[in-house]
C-alpha cells in the first residue's frame, strides 16, 4: 500500500474542461499513438466487453487501490482472436489519482510477446495502455484481465464515491477487423462514501416499457457512463476512418 500526492484542486468548470480535453487526447492517443498501423474495419453485434473488477470497493484516505480491467470477447465470427487492444481509464473525483497501469494476462501467451505502451496522467486523473501481440498468431479470446490500474486515494480525501470509467477502448482482431466495444465502470467508496442514487429513470428515449414494470425510480443506480463510452466509441470510429483515408 502506498500513497500519491493529491492532484491540485481545480474549480468545477476548469476541472470539467480539463477532463474533456483529456478524454479527447486519450482517444487520439488510442487511435493514432497506439493503433499499430492497422487499417481495421469494424464489426457490429460482435462486441468486446471491458469492465472493471471489482465493480465496487471501499478505500480509506491514503490507501492504494488496485483494480483489474477485465476483457471479454468471443473474437470474430470466423473464430479469430484479438491481436491488439487499448483502453483508457479515468476517475471522476480528485480523491482518486491513477499512479500506474500495467498489462494483464489476456493478450499474453501462446508464444507471443507483448508490445506495451502506457501513460499515466495524474493531473487529469487518467491513464491509458495499449498492447499488441507479436506475432499476433490466432489472437486471444475469452475472459481475463487485460490491465491493472493502481489508484491512490488522496490522504485528505473527503467521504465520496468515485467512479472509475473506461473512457476509450478498442479491440482489433488478428484479421484487422475492429470489434465494437462495451464498457462497465466501477465505484470506489472513499471513507464510507455512498453513490448518488438520484438520477436515471431507466427509460431511454425511443423505448416503450410495459406499464406494470416496477417504477423507474427503482432503477436509480443504473450503470452510468455507458452512453458516454459509446459516444467516445463513435468518435473513435470516425477518427479511425479519417485516419485510414489519409493513409
Amino acid at each position: 500500500m502506498g500513497t500519491s500526492p493529491r492532484a491540485e484542486t481545480q474549480r468545477p468548470a476548469e476541472h470539467s474542461r480539463a477532463r474533456t480535453a483529456a478524454r479527447l487526447c486519450l482517444v487520439v492517443l488510442l487511435l493514432f499513438g497506439t493503433a499499430f498501423a492497422s487499417v481495421p474495419v469494424t464489426a457490429g453485434d460482435n462486441v468486446a466487453l471491458f469492465y472493471v473488477e471489482p465493480d465496487e470497493v471501499d478505500a480509506d484516505p491514503g490507501e492504494t487501490v488496485t483494480l483489474e480491467v477485465v476483457m471479454s470477447t468471443h473474437g470474430g465470427w470466423s473464430g479469430e482472436g484479438v491481436g491488439d487492444a487499448a483502453l483508457a481509464v479515468e476517475t471522476d473525483s480528485d480523491a482518486l489519482i491513477p499512479v500506474a497501469i500495467d498489462p494483464g494476462p489476456f493478450l499474453a501467451g501462446d508464444g507471443s510477446d507483448l508490445e506495451v505502451r502506457t501513460n499515466v496522467d495524474e493531473e487529469n486523473a487518467s491513464a491509458w495502455i495499449s498492447q499488441k501481440r507479436v506475432p499476433a498468431g490466432d489472437g486471444a479470446t475469452g475472459t481475463e484481465p487485460v490491465a491493472t490500474v493502481t489508484l491512490a486515494v488522496a490522504a485528505d480525501a473527503e467521504p465520496t464515491s468515485a467512479t472509475v470509467s473506461i473512457v476509450g477502448s478498442q479491440a482489433t482482431l488478428v484479421s484487422e477487423i475492429r470489434q465494437a466495444t462495451m464498457t462497465r465502470e466501477a465505484t470506489v467508496h472513499v471513507d464510507g462514501g455512498e453513490p448518488d442514487d438520484a438520477s436515471d429513470d431507466g427509460s431511454p428515449e425511443g423505448v416503450t416499457l410495459a406499464e406494470d414494470e416496477p417504477p423507474t425510480g427503482d432503477d436509480a443506480d443504473a450503470i452510468p457512463g455507458f452512453g458516454h463510452a459509446l459516444a467516445v466509441g463513435v468518435l473513435a470510429l470516425v477518427l479511425t476512418a479519417r485516419y485510414a483515408r489519409t493513409r
Binding site: 471479454s72 477487423i177 443506480d221 450503470i223 476512418a241
Partner: protein
C-alpha cells in the same frame, strides 16, 4: 445452433453464467427478466468458456423484451417490382432466430464481413405492408460475376422494422454489388382493395457500395441501451418514432396509436417514405369485440388478440364473420403464418369448429378470419393457436409468441 456456414459449426455451445453483480442492477432486472447479462453461451473446443459474440440478455422473459441495442442501417430508395414496391435496407451481419414449431433456432453470421440485407414490401396504392411468406430470392453479382449462391430470405419481425424479409449475406471484400430480388406471387388470401392483385411476381435490381463508409455508418450508428432496461418487458419504438417524443401507450393493448406508419433511416441518409407494418389500433375495428371478463383484449404468448364479430353481409362473408387480429404488444406488428382454430360451444355442445384463414386486407391488414354460420350471445368461444407465428425474429421477439395458450371468451350481445 445453425450457422450459415457449416465449416464454422464446430463450436459446441453451452449455457454459461457471467458476472452481473452490479449493485442494484440485479435488483432492477431480476424481477422483470431474471438474470440479465452480457453473457456467454459458447464453449471452445478445449472446454474453456468463451463469451458471446454480441451482447444479449440471458434468460429473457417469454415475452417481448427490450433488447440490448438499437440497430442502424442504410435505407435505399424504394423500387418497383411488378405490383410490389420494395425498399432495401442494409445493416451489418447479425444473429436472428428462426422458428420451428414452438422452438427457435439461432442463426449466426458466417463472417464479420458482409451485410444483413432486409426488404420491406408494400402496396403503394394502399400503403399495406405485405408479409411475404416464402419464395423470394436474392442474387448478388459483382463485376458481372455471381457472388455466392442465390439466397432464400426469411420472413422476419423486428421491433424497429416490423414485418420484413431478409438474411445475412457474407461478402468477401469491399466493392460495388448488384442485387436482384425476385418476389413471388402473393399466396395469402386478399380482400378489399388487394383482392385479385399480386397474382404475378416481381423483380427489382439495385446496386450498393460495400465500403468502409458503409461499415462506419451501420456500426457507428448502433446504439446500446442502458443495461437497466435490457430484458424488461417493453420494446423499441419503430424507427421513425425514436426521438420524436410521440411514444404513448394505447391503453387497451399497449400499442402505439400515433398514426405514424413509417420509419426512417438511422444511417443519416435521406430516403423516401417506407411504411411500418403497424396494424390499426384495436378501437378501429368494427363489429362486436370479444373481451376478457375484466374488459381487456385477450393475450396469449404476450401477443394481443383483437377478436371481433362483424355483422352478416360484410365484405368478408354473407354470414357473420369472425376477424382475429393477433399483434405484438407496443408496436402492433402483425403476427403472420399462424394456424388458428376456433370452436363455438353452446350449452356444452360444439356448434362450430374449424380453422381460420390468413387474410390480407387493405383496411385491417393481416388477420385471420372465418364465417360464423351460427353464433349467439352467451356462446363460449375458444381460440386455439395450433401453430404460433412461423416467422423469424430479431432480438427482443425471439422468446415471445411461442407457447400460446388457448383463449376462452364468452360472446356478448351482438351488434
Amino acid at each position: 445452433m445453425t450457422r450459415n456456414d457449416d465449416s464454422n459449426a464446430t463450436r459446441e455451445r453451452k449455457p454459461r453464467q457471467y458476472r452481473t453483480n452490479r449493485r442494484g442492477f440485479l435488483s432492477r432486472a431480476g424481477a422483470a427478466a431474471g438474470l440479465v447479462a452480457v453473457t456467454g453461451c459458447l464453449a471452445e473446443d478445449d472446454g474453456t468458456d468463451a463469451v458471446p459474440a454480441f451482447p444479449r440478455v440471458e434468460d429473457p422473459p417469454e415475452a417481448v423484451y427490450v433488447p440490448t441495442h438499437r440497430e442502424a442501417m442504410r435505407v435505399l430508395e424504394p423500387l418497383e417490382a411488378g405490383e410490389y414496391t420494395l425498399a432495401s435496407m442494409l445493416s451489418y451481419p447479425h444473429p436472428f432466430w428462426l422458428v420451428d414449431g414452438t422452438e427457435t433456432v439461432p442463426v449466426e453470421p458466417d463472417s464479420d464481413l458482409g451485410v444483413h440485407m432486409m426488404f420491406t414490401v408494400w402496396d403503394e396504392a394502399t400503403g399495406t405492408v405485405i408479409p411475404l411468406d416464402s419464395g423470394a430470392e436474392i442474387r448478388l453479382e459483382r463485376d458481372g460475376e455471381p457472388v455466392g449462391t442465390p439466397r432464400l430470405p426469411w420472413t422476419m419481425i423486428s421491433q424497429e422494422m416490423g414485418v420484413h424479409f431478409g438474411d445475412n449475406v457474407p461478402l468477401e471484400s469491399f466493392g460495388t454489388y448488384t442485387v436482384e430480388v425476385s418476389l413471388p406471387p402473393l399466396g395469402v388470401e386478399r380482400t378489399g382493395a388487394l383482392a385479385g392483385r399480386f397474382t404475378d411476381g416481381g423483380r427489382a435490381t439495385f446496386e450498393f457500395d460495400y465500403d468502409e463508409a458503409f461499415v462506419e455508418e451501420v456500426v457507428g450508428g448502433v446504439e446500446y441501451l442502458d443495461e437497466a432496461v435490457w430484458g424488461r418487458s417493453g420494446a423499441l419504438e419503430p424507427m421513425d418514432h425514436a426521438g420524436h417524443g410521440d411514444s404513448q401507450h394505447h391503453g387497451d393493448d399497449h400499442h402505439h396509436d400515433d398514426g405514424h406508419n413509417h420509419h426512417g433511416d438511422t444511417g443519416g441518409h435521406a430516403h423516401a417514405h417506407v411504411p411500418f407494418s403497424a396494424l390499426p389500433a384495436s378501437g378501429d375495428y368494427p363489429g362486436t369485440h370479444l373481451l376478457t371478463a375484466d374488459g381487456a383484449y385477450p393475450q396469449s404468448g404476450d401477443a394481443t388478440f383483437v377478436l371481433t364479430v362483424l355483422e352478416a353481409g360484410s365484405r368478408f362473408a354473407d354470414e357473420r364473420y369472425l376477424l382475429v387480429s393477433p399483434r405484438t404488444p407496443y408496436n402492433r406488428v402483425p403476427l403472420a403464418d399462424m394456424a388458428l382454430d376456433v370452436r363455438l360451444e353452446r350449452d356444452g355442445t360444439t356448434v362450430q369448429r374449424g380453422p381460420l384463414e390468413q387474410t390480407l386486407d387493405d383496411e385491417f391488414g393481416l388477420h385471420y378470419g372465418r364465417a360464423l354460420e351460427d353464433v349467439e350471445p352467451g356462446d363460449e368461444l375458444t381460440l386455439t393457436v395450433e401453430t404460433p407465428p412461423q416467422v423469424a425474429r430479431h432480438q427482443g421477439y425471439e422468446t415471445a409468441f411461442l407457447r400460446m395458450e388457448p383463449i376462452e371468451l364468452r360472446v356478448p350481445e351482438l351488434g
